[in-house]
């Protein structure tokens, strides 16, 4: 299967992809801890952007509340681990199931009551905010004081099964997740389901007229996107070891998740990944470069967000379809198929 997809990529594209992969696999041997953490952040944005892209890019449903699914995954995985000692991988399944159920419920309510466009987006925000305040007051998972994972677990070794270990281990876990979700999305795009989604995205009424059960397939998109986002949430919980509702469920996180996909190109396979590779390192570099401004009394905590925001404005105004379609041409990849 993968062979066929690879054959569809022009030779030069295969070369670039292979080089990138080799570089990423070997990176931990050559770079320091800070650069490693930046790359983990890149994978975090790439992975979550990809998950969000399934709902918006493929099925055409705008969600501005993906922090909800992220947080449900993170809290489910962490709570099962802390309270019952359940393995994070099982916790991931549970978290994915919880998030998919929440997504199905929100999707069902929204689509059944024919809440479209901006109202649907606001509905997703409302549910995320509602849940944030709920978790602020739910003391079993720490309330607003935060929920912490014990860091003693895997000292002195990497315990992949328990997801306790060094940053390098997490680097490879995030890398694998990013590759995994990329392959999954590729598979979806050439599946029956994927074609249904694209048809719904382009023209819902026409899709309906062709006999596609649009309600059902939109719900599938939300559920899958939610579950994948929740997996990311569990990884995040075990990587960061602390969870605060105000940060986990915040609307800022929801927006951050989709920035990479917007910059890279909504609805494209590589868009979220390219977007993450552009945004995160530039944001980090900016923080370092503008360090002198700190002496002028300017606080640099917000600089990344200002930069991300301006990037989106520039992209929407000048390169609406994202960087990837443009880059694709610039790399000379448009000679072959798609």
């Amino acid at each position: 299967m993968i062979k066929i997809w690879l054959a569809e990529i022009p030779p030069r594209g295969r070369l670039y992809l292979g080089l990138l992969l080799a570089a990423l696999l070997a990176a931990p041997l050559f770079i320091d801890g800070y650069a490693l953490s930046v790359l983990v952040l890149v994978f975090y944005f790439a992975y979550l952007g990809q998950a969000w892209n399934i709902m918006m890019g493929f099925a055409g449903q705008l969600s501005l509340g993906h922090a909800l699914y992220f947080g449900l995954g993170a809290y489910t995985g962490a709570a099962l681990y802390v309270h019952f000692g359940l393995s994070p991988w099982l916790g991931m399944l549970a978290g994915g199931a919880v998030a998919a159920a929440a997504g199905a419920a929100i999707g069902a309510l929204g689509f059944r009551f024919k809440i479209g466009g901006v109202y649907f987006a606001i509905l997703t925000i409302a549910f995320a905010e509602f849940t944030r305040i709920l978790f602020d007051h739910w003391l079993w998972v720490g309330g607003s004081g935060g929920f912490f994972l014990p860091v003693t677990g895997g000292r002195g070794g990497n315990d992949l099964l328990g997801l306790r270990g060094s940053p390098t281990m997490f680097y490879y876990v995030w890398l694998a997740a990013t590759i995994g979700v990329l392959i999954l999305c590729r598979a979806l795009l050439s599946s029956r389901l994927g074609y249904f989604w694209l048809a719904i995205r382009e023209d819902q009424e026409a899709a309906q007229a062709l006999g596609i059960n649009t309600f059902r397939y939109k719900i599938f998109a939300v559920m899958l996107s939610a579950a994948l986002t929740a997996f990311g949430g569990v990884l995040y919980a075990f990587y960061n070891n602390n969870l605060f509702p105000s940060a986990i469920f915040s609307i800022t996180r929801s927006i951050d998740m989709l920035l990479g996909a917007i910059i890279g190109g909504v609805g494209t396979l590589m868009g979220p990944i390219i977007g993450a590779f552009i945004l995160t390192p530039l944001g980090e570099a900016l923080t370092v470069l503008l360090e002198p401004l700190r002496d002028l009394g300017i606080k640099l905590d917000g600089i990344k967000q200002v930069f991300y925001g301006l990037c989106v404005v520039v992209i929407v105004v000048f390169q609406r379809r994202g960087v990837w379609p443009w880059l694709w041409r610039k790399l000379g990849l448009d000679g072959g198929a798609k």
Partner: protein, 289 residues
């Protein structure tokens, strides 16, 4: 608890709610005319609050006195935003517009964070602790002034739309853009004016709110969502709906703070929002689309 406690709480909630209503009016005008969902609403309001704060710190101006100044500033910013950026993007799909404004919002709030820092700041007024006694009610002077100011600005806006030629022209653009073009109206200019007027509401609401609330950058997100709640509960595009829904939300928050925990109060607003979206998407007052 004696009944006066509840009455006081309801009255002060209603006065605060008038400010929510005024702010939501800004969102409503911009959506009603330009069909833009202003995700940067709360962020603009926080910028207005900081402007009023600076006017107080530098020149000792009472926030209520600096309303015209701040409104002029916000009007210019709103006009420029619509004329310079959004007017060029009329053919962009809806979701891209939302994301564009959400991105502008993030840049704004983080910009405030960089300049003013994360700490809450407020204005110290010498009448901050005065109050009026009306029958059984004991009302804070600032809240009464805030309520009066909110109603006055909203009234001026309504009068503008009803009785001035430009106001009517703006309404025409909102009602039927093709018809407006056919009659020779300069739609792009009127859109920018409408965005500016919406920003005036936001600016006025920001100044007034500074009397009651300490300003800090992260209030922005909260106020954006609050304005969505108010506008959707009241019905998008309805001016009286926005004011009524503002009062409703203000009172329910005040009562939730009294009966349950103050920190849970916005959960009720979001719950109400979800219910209204599902069962009465046109809003409590609005007419069915």
């Amino acid at each position: 608890m004696p009944i006066e406690v509840y009455l006081n709480q309801i009255a002060s909630g209603a006065l605060t709610g008038l400010i929510y209503g005024l702010s939501a009016l800004g969102l409503s005008v911009i959506f009603g005319v330009c069909k833009i969902v202003n995700f940067a609403h709360g962020e603009m309001m926080v910028i207005a609050m900081y402007a009023a704060l600076l006017a107080f710190q530098w020149f000792g101006l009472d926030p209520l006195v600096s309303i015209p100044l701040v409104c002029a500033l916000l009007f210019a910013a709103g006009y420029a935003l619509q004329a310079g950026l959004i007017n060029r993007l009329i053919d962009v799909p809806d979701h891209m517009q939302f994301i564009l404004l959400a991105a502008i919002a993030i840049a704004m709030v983080s910009g405030c964070l960089m300049i003013f820092g994360p700490n809450a700041q407020n204005v110290q007024l010498d009448y901050a602790y005065d109050s009026y006694e009306i029958g059984p009610l004991l009302l804070d002077k600032v809240r009464v002034l805030a309520g009066i100011a909110a109603i006055s600005v909203a009234g001026l806006l309504a009068a503008f739309f009803r009785w001035t030629w430009i106001g009517k022209a703006i309404c025409a653009c909102g009602d039927n853009i093709v018809g407006a073009r056919v009659t020779g109206l300069n739609v792009k200019h009127l859109f920018a004016l409408a965005f500016g007027l919406g920003s005036v509401c936001i600016g006025a609401a920001g100044c007034i709110l500074l009397l009651l609330v300490d300003v800090q950058p992260f209030l922005a997100v909260e106020y954006t969502l609050l304005a969505f709640v108010v506008v959707i509960v009241g019905g998008l595009g309805s001016l009286t709906g926005a004011l009524l829904a503002g009062v409703l939300i203000g009172v329910s928050e005040a009562l939730a703070g009294l009966f349950i925990q103050p920190s849970l109060k916005s959960m009720f607003s979001f719950g109400l929002l979800i219910l209204v979206l599902l069962f009465r998407p046109q809003g409590l007052v609005g007419k069915r689309a």
